[in-house]
Each structure stands twice: as C-alpha cells, then as structure tokens.
C-alpha cells in the first residue's frame, strides 16, 4: 500500500507540492508564534528565573515580579527567624533613566542584591564579558549584550549616567532581558544610590531553605506567621507573573488566536487540496471500489498519503522554524523548543494532515462502486 500511496502522490506533483506547502506554512506559523510566545513568557518571568533561591517573599499584594511593592527592611530578620529558613537575601529594584554620551536615553530597571553572592541576575554562566569583582567598584552595573541597541551601542567599560549619577558597565551578560524594561544588575547599595531608595526599604527577599526542608512548608509557615508579606516558591511566582501579564496584556489571546488561525488555515488548505486531488483521481478510486477494494482499504490509502505528506511537510516546516529561531536569536530574541514541543509540532502536523484528509475520505467513501460502469 505504501508503494501505491507514493505513486499517487508522485503522479499528481502539483497538488502534492501544494499540500506540502500548506503544511509548511501552517507549521511554520505555529512554530514562529510559539517561539515568540516562549520568548515573551521567558522575559516576563526573567527576574525570577534569573535568581537563585527557593522562595521569593514580597509584599502581600504583589502577584507580578515586574511590579514589586515595598517591604520594610525589618521583615528581613523576621523571615530569617522562621523555622526552616537557612539564608535570606534582600533585593532592591529601582527604576532609572540612563543617558549616554551620544545622547541616547533609556529607561532601565536597576536590580540590586548583596555582593559577592549576587543571588539575582549575575549568573556566571550568562556572563560574557567583565568580572564580578569589578561590580564592587563605584558606579558598576551590568548590561545585556542584546540590549546594546537600546543603550546607544554601550559595551563593556562604557561610562554613562543613571538618574544623573556616574555609572559604567562592568559586566556584560547574554540573554538576561526583562519584559518591557532593560535590566541592569548591581549591588544593593548602588541600586539604592542610583534609585534614591531609602535604607529602610527593600523590594523582595530571596530565601534559601535549610537542606532537607520542604520549601512549600517553609513558604506556608512564612505566610502564616508574618503579616503583610507573601511567600512564593520561585516556580509559583514565575507562573503568577506570566499568568498576570498574559491575562492583562492580551498577548496570550493575540498569540493564541494566531496559532488557532494558522491551524485552521492549514487544515483547510490541506483539506481542500487533498479533496481536489481526490476528485482528480475519483475515477481511480471508483475503479478500486469496483474491482473489490473495501472502503477501509481506500481510507487507509488516503490516510497513508496524508501521513507521508505530514512527514515531508514537517521536515521542511521544522527546518524553516529552526532557521527562524537562529535568525531571531542573533537579534536577541533567544528561545529554545523543548523536545516535547517539537513532538507537539509533529502531532499538530499529523492532526491537520489527517484531519484535512477527512474531506477527501468523505467524498470517496460516498462513491458508489457502480460508478465504475458510468464511463
């Protein structure tokens, strides 16, 4: 049957190419939108995912890591005293305006944490220039390589001003970018200095739990015992941030609807082209029925063609998706597809191909074997 399916596909080259192009367009659009979606959601939760802590403790009203409220510094000691807490690390987040020599200005988000541990943002694995020791110098901040276009092409060592105060880029990271604002990581003292944040205020507390302690239990204990704060596991806080931004920005609906339309478009392009190909071959299918092929055989023959189309379409479509991913990655829109997601793309391809074949199957199944005598 494989041989017959292949012969049918090969014989009608124009339609076969049309079906494969339909699959490629559909799967490329789905892959592209999914990639952008992954990038955006990663950016939304970047502050949390670029920190190294078991728990985040923030103001009790805060559900979005990109809009942290204010905490009293005394909460730090209260949290430290809770059973199961090993270490606490204060974090200060402040807004600022950066001005460069060439006149470029940019809004930045200063994120300060204690040196030398730098529990947020300055993961050695993501540092591509400079070193952490220099972060102790006056005015030292980090900047991301992919934000350089927004920062007047500023690179390592570039001097500039934040809120009118001297600063320079001591460390350059790669792929640590925020959603909306440009991240600049620094020490907690410099974040206060640049952002005019009083010593009594912090934005969040990162918590390491004792070895063997259950982070969820410690979180619950903090929430039960300390008034005015809310503790989250890092995963939950990242999830809450993404959920809040997706619901309130319309990004989820927008990208979701694009994916749905790509699915529908693919489904109909493939379905109608397969239907048209089946109509072109209706005499052959009628002959098959006439000489004794069952509907089951013919359905399998059409589904096998759809499967072969989906294999070819997926191979080409995924190649384009990966080229797109590499292309936008060079511009800083960095994301990766998990193996599960790639498998998902393949199953979507199968779904639209086999689903599209339903149009042709419906037509052929209704064909009477007697049609073979009608010339």
């Amino acid at each position: 049957m494989l041989r017959y399916a292949w012969q049918f596909m090969k014989y009608d080259k124009a339609k076969s190419v049309g079906i494969i192009i339909g699959i490629v367009i559909s799967i490329f659009l789905i892959g592209q939108q999914t990639g952008i979606f992954i990038f955006l959601t990663n950016a939304m939760k970047a502050l949390v995912t670029n920190s190294r802590a078991d728990l985040w403790v923030v103001d009790s009203k805060t559900i979005n890591a990109n809009a942290l409220g204010k905490l009293d510094i005394r909460k730090l000691r209260e949290i430290e005293s809770v059973e199961g807490v090993a270490h606490v690390y204060p974090v200060v987040v402040a807004g600022g305006s950066a001005r460069f020599d060439d006149g470029t200005t940019a809004g930045v988000q200063l994120i300060g944490s204690d040196a030398p541990s730098f529990r947020i943002g300055l993961d050695p694995k993501k540092i591509i220039g400079g070193n952490l020791e220099r972060m102790l110098e006056d005015g030292a901040v980090s900047a991301d390589y992919f934000d350089r276009a927004s920062l007047g092409q500023a690179g390592l060592g570039t001097n500039f001003e934040i809120n009118g105060k001297n600063a320079f880029i001591a460390v350059q990271t790669s792929g640590v970018r925020g959603f909306g604002g440009i991240f600049m990581f620094t020490t907690i003292e410099k974040a206060r200095y640049f952002g005019n944040i009083p010593n009594t205020d912090i934005s969040a507390v990162l918590v390491d739990v004792l070895p063997g302690a259950d982070p969820s239990a410690v979180r619950d204990r903090i929430n039960r015992t300390i008034f005015g704060v809310r503790a989250w596991t890092s995963k939950d806080f990242a999830g809450s941030t993404v959920g809040f931004l997706l619901t309130n920005s319309g990004i989820g609906f927008s990208i979701g609807s694009l994916i749905v339309f790509a699915l529908i478009a693919g489904f109909f392009i493939i379905g109608l082209t397969m239907y048209s190909a089946a109509l072109d071959r209706i005499r052959d299918y009628g002959t098959l029925k006439g000489i004794g092929a069952t509907n089951g055989y013919i359905i399998r023959l059409i589904l096998l063609q759809a499967f072969l189309f989906s294999l070819a379409g997926f191979a080409v479509g995924y190649l384009f998706i990966d080229l797109f991913r590499q292309g936008v990655g060079k511009a800083g829109t960095v994301f990766t597809y998990s193996p599960l997601m790639i498998a998902g793309f393949f199953f979507v391809t199968l779904f639209i191909s086999l689903g599209g074949a339903a149009f042709a199957i419906r037509r052929i199944v209704s064909l009477e074997p007697a049609s073979v005598f009608r010339g």
């Binding site: 012969q7 052959d284 006439g290 000489i291 069952t294 055989y297």
Partner: protein
C-alpha cells in the same frame, strides 16, 4: 441447491476453483466438457428513486452465465443492459429477486462482502479500460492480488505470467498514458485474469478500440471462455455477435429474448 457455507471463498485469499486453475496456469487447454452455471439472475429488478419519481431501470428479469460460454448482452442505450451487468457484478443490490454468484446469494450482503465477491469471483473489463493512471501496467495488474493479501513475491510471479499470456510483458513498466487503447485494454484483461475469477464481466470492451485491437481483445475473451470462464459482454456492437455462444437481448428494461449462437 445453493451453498450457504461459501464465505471462505468470498473473504479468503484467492478463489477456490481447481477445475479452472489448470487453464489459468497453463494456457490454454479448452474445457468444453461441462458448463456449470456460475452466475444467476432470478427475477431480479432494479428501481432507482429520484425525488418522488421511481425509475425502473430493470424489470424482473432472469438469466444465467455458464462457465465456458461467451454471453453477449445487447440492447440500445438506456435499455437496462448495464444495470443487468451491475447486478451480476455485485456493484448494486437488486430491488427484488435474487442474484447468485458461484452459489452465494447477494441479497442482504454487507458492502464489505459484496466487495469480497467482486474481488474474488469477478474480473471486470471496462469500456474506458479504467487502469489506475498513477500505477504502471504491472502494478495495475497486481492490484487485485494486493487487495487479496497475496504476498508480493507470489503476486509478481502471477503478474508476470498473465502479462505474458496477453503479450504485454514488454509494457510492464509503462504508465497507462504511455500505451495505446488496445494495449491498455489488454492490461485491463490481464488485471481481470490475474485473480483467476470464474466470471468476467465486460462493459463495451471494444467500444474505444479500432477493428484490429477489438479483434485481438475478443479473441482473448473467447480464449478465456474456452478455458472455462463465464464471460459476459455488454455491447452495442453487432460485429461481436460471431464471438458469442449466447446472446441476451435487453429492451425497455427487460430481457426480450435469449438466443443460442453458433460461434465462429
């Protein structure tokens, strides 16, 4: 008596007819000693409903196809001869009456079992040849064997043999569009022969052919009847009469007369 236990033959692989296989495998020693009836139409009628109108395509009619005979079904357009052929060919169900193929009553059979009868009991030859355009001659001939589930190696051997029988071995790898009408019809005959079905039904097999090709095709069909097959041919073409053992005339939706012919 009609057999009720014949399903193994319908659904099974290949047709069970040892008395024919010698002829198929060793063409062609004529079998003229016995002419058993292989297909019967008993007071079968066919009506089609179109909206509120009932169209009578065939009034209650009876006929038989015997092995070893060429039966010509002749009549003007719209007389009901193709309906008669469709009933014998198990592509439609009779509205009333019975159609019996190789001892199997077709009334009330499922579409799947009807397909089984078509595959295993009947070889079809069509006016427009009806070869599958994307497949080569060899693949077209092999198709019924594939549908029967015959392993490739065995099927290829049988295809080779039957292509030799119709002198078309040299066209095995050609697509239908690369062949003349006569060549295509010979490939269609090979496809009808390859399963060694006892009945061959031909719908205007010479209508699209020139005189020379028509003669070759009719000789081949006559040869198959001589090998013991029951061959039924629907035609307008009176020139085919000399090839027939029996002629059935169909007019106004019914069989008007049947005559025994002295064949050439």
């Amino acid at each position: 008596m009609y057999r009720t236990d014949a399903w193994d033959e319908v659904d099974g692989i290949g047709a069970f007819r040892p008395f024919l296989s010698t002829c198929y495998n060793n063409p062609c020693e004529p079998l003229r000693t016995a002419m058993p009836v292989i297909a019967e139409v008993i007071q079968a009628s066919k009506e089609f409903i179109s909206g509120d109108t009932v169209i009578v395509a065939l009034k209650p009619s009876s006929m038989e196809l015997s092995m070893g005979k060429v039966t010509l079904i002749i009549g003007p357009s719209g007389s009901g001869k193709t309906t008669l052929l469709s009933l014998i060919g198990c592509v439609i169900y009779p509205t009333s009456g019975e159609v019996i193929i190789d001892g199997i009553r077709t009334s009330g059979l499922s579409a799947r079992k009807m397909a089984g009868i078509r595959l295993n009991k009947i070889g079809f030859i069509f006016q427009q040849f009806n070869l599958l355009a994307p497949l080569t001659a060899e693949q077209n001939v092999m198709l019924p064997l594939t549908l029967q589930g015959i392993p490739d190696a065995e099927a290829k051997g049988r295809v080779r043999k039957v292509l030799e029988q119709v002198n078309m071995s040299h066209r095995a790898k050609s697509l239908p569009k690369m062949m003349s009408g006569g060549e295509q019809q010979r490939i269609a005959i090979a496809r009808a022969l390859v399963t060694d079905a006892p009945v061959m039904l031909c719908d205007e097999p010479t209508a699209s052919l020139d005189t020379q090709s028509a003669h070759i095709v009719m000789e081949e069909l006559k040869n198959q009847a001589a090998c013991g097959k029951a061959v039924a041919i629907v035609t307008h073409d009176m020139r085919l009469k000399p090839y027939a053992d029996e002629i059935v005339y169909v007019e106004n939706g019914q069989i008007s007369k049947t005559e025994i012919n002295e064949p050439i």
